[in-house]
């Protein structure tokens, strides 16, 4: 049994399911989840975490009682963090009328001291709604996911060259046709620039790149 636990700690439940610590079996939280269409697998050997979700998150639940009872919740959260799961670790904290006054201290401990993510909930009903969203959300596309756009660099180079004083779009294009990269343009001598932008322009561009900027 001892060596069974670490394995379970990293078991990913199938889509639409969650793995739940056995102690939750008869709770209103579980009733709420069933109403939300989440299938639940109970497990007695889950270790410190309360729930495992298909998006590879593991969740610890800190109740109002835990918080009001004093600092024992701290041990619980530390044990959870030290379990070193490969999952994303989330801590749900009951923020109720009774536990509200302790919430800033709990947040400081969980987020700043331990570096975990904290989500407040007002109770088990809230929690089951949130967890249901997390379980079902895995099947949908994350609306905040960064679209990996293969950015075209040419317009960015062009925009940067226009940061040189006195260089607009037309001049920038002409310059880049002669010196195709920013580095080449920067290292061009005034003599090389002169046929393209004239003597004054050549001096201005050259000194812009080479003039001293640092220090106060």
């Amino acid at each position: 049994m001892e060596n069974k636990a670490p394995e379970l700690l990293n078991a990913v439940p199938p889509y639409g399911h969650m793995i739940c610590s056995d102690k939750w079996r008869n709770s209103s939280f579980i009733q709420g989840l069933k109403g939300g269409g989440v299938k639940i697998i109970f497990e007695t050997e889950l270790g410190v975490a309360d729930f495992l979700l298909p998006n590879k998150s593991s969740v610890l639940y800190v109740s109002e009682c835990d918080i009001i009872a004093g600092s024992s919740y701290k041990r619980k959260v530390v044990r959870y963090r030290n379990a070193g799961s490969s999952f994303q670790e989330l801590v749900l904290v009951e923020k109720t009328r009774l536990s509200e006054q302790y919430f800033p201290a709990v947040q400081k401990f969980v987020v700043f001291d331990l570096g975990l993510s904290l989500l407040p909930i007002s109770g088990q009903a809230d929690a089951s709604q949130l967890i249901a969203q997390m379980v079902h959300g895995e099947g949908r596309e994350n609306p905040f996911r960064r679209k990996s756009s293969s950015r075209l660099l040419d317009p960015l180079v062009l925009a940067l060259v226009q940061q040189i004083p006195g260089v607009g779009k037309v001049k920038a294009l002409v310059l880049l046709r002669h010196f195709s990269s920013i580095q080449q343009l920067c290292n061009a001598s005034p003599g090389e620039l002169e046929p393209i932008v004239g003597q004054a322009g050549a001096q201005q561009i050259h000194s812009f790149f080479h003039k001293h900027t640092a220090g106060t």
Partner: protein, 241 residues
Amino acid sequence: NLIVSETSAPSGSVCILVDSRCISSGVELLTSLRQRHAATVHVCSLDSSYFIVSNRMAVERQSQSDLAAAQNRKRLAERVNSLQGLFERVCIIVEKDRTKTGEASRPFQRTRYFDSTLAALVRLGVRPLWSDGAEESAGLLADVARLEHRKGHGIGIPVEVKGQHRQQALQLYLSLPSVNYVQALNMSHNFTSIAQLINSPIEAIQKGGCMSRPKAEEIYRFLRYSCDSFLMNMSKSGKNS
């Protein structure tokens, strides 16, 4: 131009950069940051309204009701995407809505929509921080800035940019891909000239810009990227300005 002049952070206090758009909605917060938390607050023009608390971390501030409103999702997604491109770490302060004096505070109705937005943000590694009001948000900002400072990522350069040429250099650094304001500041402070940055090896860019190795590599490649004359001709008639 809303550059509020203050010098670099004295030892022991933290420095926070604030976008000028945060001023109107954040008077109370900014006052509290300066007075109660002795933070050096420097107002500047960032690309949207957020706070920079270290060389690698930005903090976005949203009211609970804004986060819960479906019509805001697209805009929020764009902002979070852009922040994640610019910063290694992104936090979001979710602040309880202010109630007008005399008005009974209505309990926040938590919706499925709010939960799914929250789940999506956390999934992408955006760290939520919870606040009951402006005063508490200021405390969280100061705490997170102090923590970053302790970890060696604090903003450690003068935040004021004096002189026209240095302003111009800063603008040029800001137009490098994925470079955020504080990295541009670091560069304008740590390189003796623009040419020195342009000709620097990756290691020197990483050090001078206080940035990650991949970002320094990206800049190094960008500075040497050879423009395709065909594309350059295309962009002439295109809408890229």
